[in-house]
């Protein structure tokens, strides 16, 4: 049974587009290309044409529909809140249903199942070695997001030998008697940046919470959603719901903005009701703010030598209105001197699988952040999404800037000495 919504399910919202053009001001892809097919209004016109049968899934339509980061910027600023990101998802599923996983899925499976290609990947210095990639589940979004040989120029982090599940057991007892919380780590944190996950776990532990890290948790489904693989999204959603059923928990914490958006936004738009699960999922910034952690940090004596840090809004937090808490947290940290940057809320350009198809545009979108970053004089750009960190570091490297992209938790960990344990 397909639990995903179809284009038809969005008909009412599609007809609510009044063609005002306001989305042009906010669409990262449009701002780069200045082409109507790239902006939400154009895509909604195409969606309406598909419903009216005046449009077909021709090549250009598929291209236009692929030109979306699903960042949700247009939805937030649309006078009628037309959910273009979800409508694009629905059209991509139709394309997949119609033509198979031709666009990306085939490319990815070619790379992963093709030895010479894989070798080429290693020769070009790409860091995702096939051996380690084997450790990453086949359904993981990482495989969709970073089919390495397709992106020769991209700087990728080195994959650590031990992933998060190697480092921690499924149940980690806290230092106090606070209740157990779930931790939805997500692929990037589990396999590429386990130290961010480790900081999250150690922090929760220190705050007195026990942590439940089910080894059976899967990818949140964003890359699959982005590439139009509706069936995979559905399967992942079911698996994730099941994974967290073992303990009676009130909160499931994420420290990857994309995973948070993936679970909270997209599962809730499927026809099946995942509310029991999605309602528990909470971004770590919000959780820490609710626990009074920001005030606690603010009371610590400021360090003599602080790092000048600015903040990048991950789209999946920004669209949920989570913009104040991360900044308040950074301002409170004793090791940080926080500075705002111009363009902090503009998308980094990664966008699910977008950067695989459109690496050049993805880079150009990311590069729009550079001027503001330079001007801020920041030594580090902190964010709350590993995808953004990867993309920002790539963009920074290409611009030849000496700025490090980090996770807020890296800075918390430094402030509290969490790594020394």
């Amino acid at each position: 049974m397909d639990k995903n919504k179809t284009l038809k399910d969005y008909e009412v919202q599609i007809r609510e587009c009044v063609k005002c053009g306001a989305c042009q001001a906010h669409c990262p892809v449009y701002l780069e290309n200045r082409r109507e097919g790239d902006v939400a209004r154009g895509k909604i016109a195409l969606a309406a044409a598909l419903l009216d049968k005046t449009g077909v899934l021709e090549k250009r339509l598929r291209q236009d529909i692929s030109m979306c980061l699903m960042c949700g910027s247009c939805v937030n600023t649309c006078p009628n809140s037309v959910p273009t990101d979800k409508i694009v998802g629905a059209i991509r599923r139709e394309i997949t249903d119609n033509r198979g996983l031709s666009l990306l899925g085939r490319g990815v499976s070619t790379v992963i199942g093709h030895k010479p290609l894989m070798k080429a990947a290693i020769k070009t210095g790409a860091a995702l070695s096939p051996l380690l990639l084997k450790e990453i589940p086949a359904s993981s979004g990482l495989r969709l997001r970073f089919p390495v040989p397709l992106m020769k120029d991209r700087s990728l982090p080195v994959i650590p030998a031990k992933n998060l599940f190697d480092l921690f057991p499924e149940f980690i007892r806290g230092d106090g008697d606070k209740p157990t919380v779930g931790f939805f780590a997500g692929c990037s944190i589990s396999f590429i940046y386990p130290e961010i996950g480790a900081s999250m776990i150690r922090l929760l532990q220190k705050m007195g919470y026990s942590v439940f890290l089910p080894g059976s948790q899967k990818c949140c489904g964003i890359p699959a959603l982005s590439s139009g693989d509706g069936r995979l999204v559905e399967k992942l959603a079911e698996d994730n719901v099941r994974s967290f059923q073992k303990y009676d928990i009130e909160h499931i914490i994420t420290c990857c903005a994309s995973c948070n958006g993936g679970v909270r936004e997209y599962y809730s738009t499927m026809k099946a009701d995942y509310g029991d699960f999605t309602g528990k999922v909470i971004d770590f910034n919000l959780f820490l703010a609710e626990q009074g952690f920001i005030e606690e940090m603010a009371e610590l004596p400021k360090w003599q030598a602080r790092t000048r840090v600015t903040y990048h809004d991950p789209c999946h937090l920004k669209t949920q209105g989570i913009t104040k808490e991360p900044r308040a947290l950074l301002r409170a940290l004793p090791n940080v001197e926080f500075v705002e940057m111009e363009g902090a809320s503009s998308c980094c350009g990664l966008g699910g699988t977008f950067s695989v198809y459109h690496y050049e545009i993805s880079k150009a979108i990311g590069a729009r952040k550079i001027a503001g970053l330079k001007e801020s004089g920041a030594e580090m750009i902190a964010t709350a999404c590993p995808g953004c960190i990867m993309q920002l570091q790539d963009v920074i490297n290409h611009a030849g800037l000496q700025v490090k992209a980090v996770h807020i938790l890296d800075l918390i960990s430094e402030a509290l000495g969490l790594t020394e344990e």
């Binding site: 053009g21 306001a22 016109a45 339509l61 009628n80």
Partner: protein, 463 residues
């Protein structure tokens, strides 16, 4: 579909990657904010005046309709290819060529987005005042073509007051220059003014020389709630009569307030039947005095509550009330007929009264808000077209609204233009000999009717 040969010539001019012929391309370039849709035959993206010129030459020699297009955010169909043809998109000609801080001018290409220019000049302590509601996405080329306005126009004037010179591609493909970089210039006819507001029917603007002002030091925003619409209307008239010109003087009527009451960041009680947002700008000490005087003037007019923003955030909160309006109107009824009549400032109370009568007479909700300070009222007739005979009713109401505006020595459009939406009403305001004079200009400058045909004058628009 267009002949292959023509497509090939277009590709030779702008490159293959800038000519779009697929069905999807035609769909995504078929509409604007009127929500009407007409398919073009081909879409061309131009990158220079020379390319525009070559494309125009082809169109003109073969009598193919040519539609210049910017952001496509117009409200009267200025960019709609009502007769098919070539849609020529200028959004990629979006360079700010220079900002001259010595002479206070900027030179830009037509695809520059209005607020992008504003941001850049403000960084240098300068100011470009015209601020149409769509400033974050509309282009300056479109602003010139429609002579865009905005809330700040009460004090600062409209787009035409800021255009010093233009580079224009004529209907025969010549590249001409009008005006220049000086404030004073009386050499030859004032062609600049002729092209500003010509809705793309006389030429295609490819470069714009804009006048800038020094950025005002400070501003003060006030939100005033009134017991009656009459009180608010009189407040507008009295402020102007006291020889104070605020930067903006926006008003919202009771129906509008009803639409946003639930979502307004500032509480609006039921007794509040009208609302004014007043902003003054200038030197800090001057605006303090102005604000105090304004409050003195309006106090006797049934004021319920006055809120004065002390910080930027508070000012933003007040403007947020105004921004909530447009998206909320459909709460009244699904279909919106949005007009932008304008009357002399002192006639605003009369116009409001006339609108109330029309709403009662035809039993249709009319929601009014807008730039009361310059007499420009956004009249929104909200109906459900699914009801029998509603379209006919709307047509009658519209006609009466325009009649009322013209009778008060006003105009049927303050800032949106004519396009296709208001061509039927042109004769109400402009007498035959004047209209004929305009037609003769169009015929003389565009004998083959290549540029944006079927707009402003003719009413034989094919669906």
């Amino acid at each position: 579909m267009m002949e292959k040969k023509i497509i090939r010539s277009l590709r030779d001019i702008v490159g293959k990657e800038n000519v779009y012929t697929e069905n999807s391309d035609r769909i995504t370039h078929s509409y604007d904010a009127t929500q009407k849709s007409y398919l073009p035959d081909v879409v061309v993206y131009a990158h220079s005046a020379e390319q525009v010129s070559e494309v125009v030459k082809i169109a003109d020699s073969l009598s193919i309709p040519l539609l210049p297009r910017g952001a496509g955010s117009g409200f009267t169909g200025g960019t709609l290819p009502v007769q098919g043809g070539i849609v020529l998109v200028l959004t990629r000609m979006n360079r700010i060529l220079s900002i001259d801080t010595d002479n206070l001018i900027a030179v830009v290409e037509p695809g520059v987005v209005t607020s992008e220019l504003q941001r850049e000049v403000e960084k240098l302590g300068l100011f470009y005042p015209p601020d149409p509601a769509s400033k974050d996405f509309c282009t300056l080329g479109g602003n010139v073509a429609e002579c865009a306005g905005g809330p700040r126009c009460v004090k600062y004037g409209v787009t035409k007051d800021y255009i010093l010179g233009l580079q224009v591609v004529t209907a025969s493909g010549e590249i001409i220059r009008t005006g220049g970089k000086t404030l004073k210039n009386v050499v030859g006819y004032d062609l600049t003014k002729l092209f500003v507001g010509s809705e793309g029917t006389l030429g295609i603007v490819t470069e714009i020389v804009l006048k800038l002002l020094p950025k005002p030091e400070a501003k003060k925003t006030m939100l005033v709630q009134f017991e009656t619409i009459d009180g608010a209307a009189r407040a507008v008239a009295d402020i102007i009569r006291a020889k104070i010109i605020p930067t903006t003087l926006e008003f919202l009527d009771a129906a509008t307030i009803g639409c946003i009451r639930d979502i307004s960041p500032i509480p609006l009680p039921d007794e509040c039947r009208a609302l004014l947002i007043i902003e003054v700008d200038g030197d800090s000490d001057v605006i303090e005095k102005q604000a105090a005087r304004i409050l003195d003037i309006i106090r006797p007019l049934g004021v319920l509550d006055t809120r004065i923003a002390e910080t930027d955030a508070e000012s933003e909160e007040i403007w947020e009330v105004r921004r909530k309006v447009s998206p909320s109107l459909r709460k009244v009824n699904p279909d919106k007929f949005n007009e932008d009549i304008v009357v002399p400032r002192s006639k605003v109370p009369d116009m409001i009264t006339a609108l109330e009568h029309l709403s009662e007479k035809y039993d249709v909700p009319i929601v009014n808000f807008g730039h009361a300070g310059d007499g420009n009222i956004h009249v929104n007739v909200m109906v459900d077209l699914a009801e029998d005979g509603m379209q006919e009713k709307v047509d009658m109401v519209m006609k009466e609204i325009f009649h009322a505006a013209v009778a008060l020595e006003g105009s049927i459009s303050g800032e949106h233009g004519i396009g296709i939406s208001k061509m039927d009403y042109l004769g109400m305001e402009i007498d035959n000999s004047t209209l004929d004079y305009m037609r003769r200009i169009k015929r003389a400058l565009d004998p083959n009717n290549t540029l944006n045909p079927g707009k402003i004058f003719e009413s034989d628009v094919s669906g």
